[in-house]
Symmetry: C2
Subunit: 168 residues, 2 copies
């Protein structure tokens, strides 16, 4: 690309404090909920992915397995609505979970358009192991955030998920 480099510049006059070079301000980002929520989210997800990596489970897959387990027989549309996952994306994810022998799709007799989703026996066994690792992840989050903060966070957001569907 060969970007033309401008003339050099003595950065001394712009470095606020010599010897204190590591201090840097994020300015008005401190007034944005999204800034903190974003940083927290990638932090939590990274830990989840790393903790669950022995079982090769990602957060979305975990959520889908849990919701199927708690709502056996529901349709893909139901599961997708509950987790705000788009139809197409959920279909592909379920394809993977079915290939691993954890999820079974049965055509519902009441509505020929829908599939009824179930966990297979293997799926239940796997989910037990998965929950153990997920609990370990959650324990670390509690430790890092502090139990009080973590509990407050959950209480703040509980029941407000419906507001967080697509539109505003």
């Amino acid at each position: 690309m060969a970007v033309a480099r401008n003339k050099p510049l003595n950065s001394e006059e712009f470095e606020p404090k010599l010897g204190q070079v590591s201090s840097i301000e994020v300015g008005c980002l401190n007034d944005h909920v999204g800034y903190f929520v974003r940083r927290l989210q990638v932090f939590v997800f990274n830990d989840f992915i790393k903790t669950l990596s022995p079982l090769d489970i990602r957060p979305g897959q975990y959520a889908v397995l849990v919701v199927i387990s708690a709502n056996a027989g529901r349709s893909q549309a139901d599961i997708g609505r509950a987790l705000n996952i788009e139809r197409a994306g959920l279909a592909k994810m379920l394809h993977g979970l079915e290939r691993r022998g954890w999820v079974q799709r049965l055509p519902a007799i009441k509505d020929g358009r829908t599939n009824s989703l179930f966990l297979t026996p293997d799926g239940n066994v796997a989910l037990r192991k998965i929950r153990k690792l997920a609990a370990r992840h959650e324990a670390r989050m509690t430790q890092v955030l502090g139990k009080s903060n973590r509990d407050q966070l959950i209480k703040l957001l509980s029941g407000r998920v419906e507001l967080m569907t697509t539109p505003v």
Copy 2:
């Protein structure tokens, strides 16, 4: 792919309540901070992107502009560290911001490896408009979450960003 469909199934026995089909439980997801934080993050980002769409600014670009503005002359490594953005990704993003005439890269004289980053006059003008829309976005978040919840959320997470760098 032609997945073999199993025999149909009467879903009646699996639907907990007839006529109450819309109720669905997310089970133990309610005990996971990550679940709520993820949903909130998607919601907040969607609103930010939509609100800032007239200026074609994404959250990451906004953060970089703000931090450059608050720390004129710092290197890419400094900015990247502050926002936890990887070197390669930041280089590409800055390329775009430079092409739009908002950011200027000057080679630092003190350290031939680093670029000193600045907002151009155009960049400052643009950032003023961007901040206006960002404030509108933040106002809507405050309204949706409730001012008390929003303030608590920020207080909870303020100063804890350092814990959310890569490792745990």
